[in-house]
Symmetry: C2
């Protein structure tokens, strides 16, 4: 059985991530969100606030993956260049979207509607808005590219808004079996199991919890029958090495 | 005055980051570490455990930036394919490094020296080892590429080990001035300041702390004289909008 793959990439736009000023908090959230919906995140790039770099990166990734998500650079200041860069990537122009303008009018009283703030109503022609329930200024979708805010609360809220428009593939399920054995002890047997299931993603992750070293063995596949067979082989491997397998992750 | 730019890229290798299982904890640490040493992190990519992808990514980035750092995939299991991929990227072969072998002998008693564990002594020809004070299995450097473990404690310890071998450029200094004004209020004046200092990175980052919205204005430059001039203009801008500037970040 081969499942239907639906793939995605994520572009994190922002000098502040690259300089170390700001810790990204969106990657793990998006990865989990997509995984739950049968969409496989295949690549992530963090790029600076440089128009050409954003254009080249988005053009490359939107051709390569089913969906592209971006975070950051859609606020009111001069360093918010994402919307203009995306318009250029799609060879179109920015225009003031009437619905976006109206949303900002509900957020700002007339004297607070500065040109900088109203710029947040400008989106590429052909884009549809993504609601921002936190602070109104919307994100947008154009073809297979979703342009979202960088502030984690807004990023997450926008994902909830756009979720119904995503079409997922066959979900990748996972089974985790842990053991207090070291990676180096299970490695040879684990490779045999990987070879038994060549299409499966069999991962090995060492941990150190409550003074004990151990290894989590994670099997990921679209084929749940295979997954259970492989997990049973992993449990048998651990027993053959003199330990009782631990189901799931060790907290 | 133009400073000397020394640049870097970071490749995070691991399916577990892309699936959401594991939260990356190395990006922000590396960004800060490099920034402190006058090295500008310019791009980050998260890629899956696929040999071709690792080879292509490393080859592209090592030609484009002064330094490339990788994390992940140098353990004992079948999914640890980074060392072999890097060897292939440099058109060379893996060999068992005698010093690495000796290090592993200090870590593992003879009965624990499984073939899988001893594989961690294999590095590309031409590589020099990077000590791992946590669990012995070393990282390595080949030309301008530094190959490090993914486990954050080991990643960080390896950076400390290799730090003396890095040659930094002119450090990028930063000054942060904060204000309880919104981004949209300072945006127009801030753009004028950016235009006064076109080579400077002038960033605007909204925050919400203790029930108060505000904005941190961050200026980054290799030219400390310009930096102080720009900061003074930012303080004047905030005063002209009826607020007293707050020095630094708001905690």
């Amino acid at each position: 059985m081969t499942g239907k793959d639906v793939t995605a990439a994520f572009v994190i736009i922002g000098n502040e991530i690259l300089s170390g000023r700001t810790k990204d908090a969106n990657l793990n959230f998006l990865a989990t969100f997509l995984n739950q919906r049968g969409i496989q995140l295949r690549e992530v790039r963090v790029v600076p606030d440089i128009t050409e770099t954003i254009i080249d990166t988005v053009n490359l990734l939107k051709a390569k993956f089913d969906y592209v998500f971006t975070s950051g650079g859609i606020g009111p200041t001069h360093d918010d260049i994402t919307s203009a860069s995306i318009a250029e990537a799609f060879s179109t122009e920015l225009y003031r979207h009437p619905d976006a303008e109206e949303l900002l009018h509900t957020q700002y009283s007339p004297e607070d509607r500065t040109p900088a703030r109203m710029k947040m109503a400008d989106v590429p022609r052909g884009a549809t808005l993504i609601d921002n329930p936190v602070s109104k200024a919307p994100g947008f979708r154009i073809e297979n590219v979703f342009v979202l805010a960088g502030v984690p609360e807004i990023f997450q809220a926008m994902l909830d808004e756009l979720a119904p428009s995503l079409v997922g593939g066959t979900p990748v399920e996972s089974v985790t079996v842990s053991t207090n054995l070291g990676e180096g002890v299970v490695a040879d047997g684990l490779e045999v199991i990987q070879n038994n299931f060549p299409d499966m993603d069999v991962g090995s992750y060492p941990y150190f919890r409550s003074g004990v070293f151990g290894t989590s063995l994670v099997m990921r596949s679209q084929n749940t029958a295979d997954l259970e067979l492989a997990a049973e082989q992993v449990r048998a491997l651990i027993r053959s090495l003199g330990q009782e397998p631990i189901e799931g992750e060790v907290k």
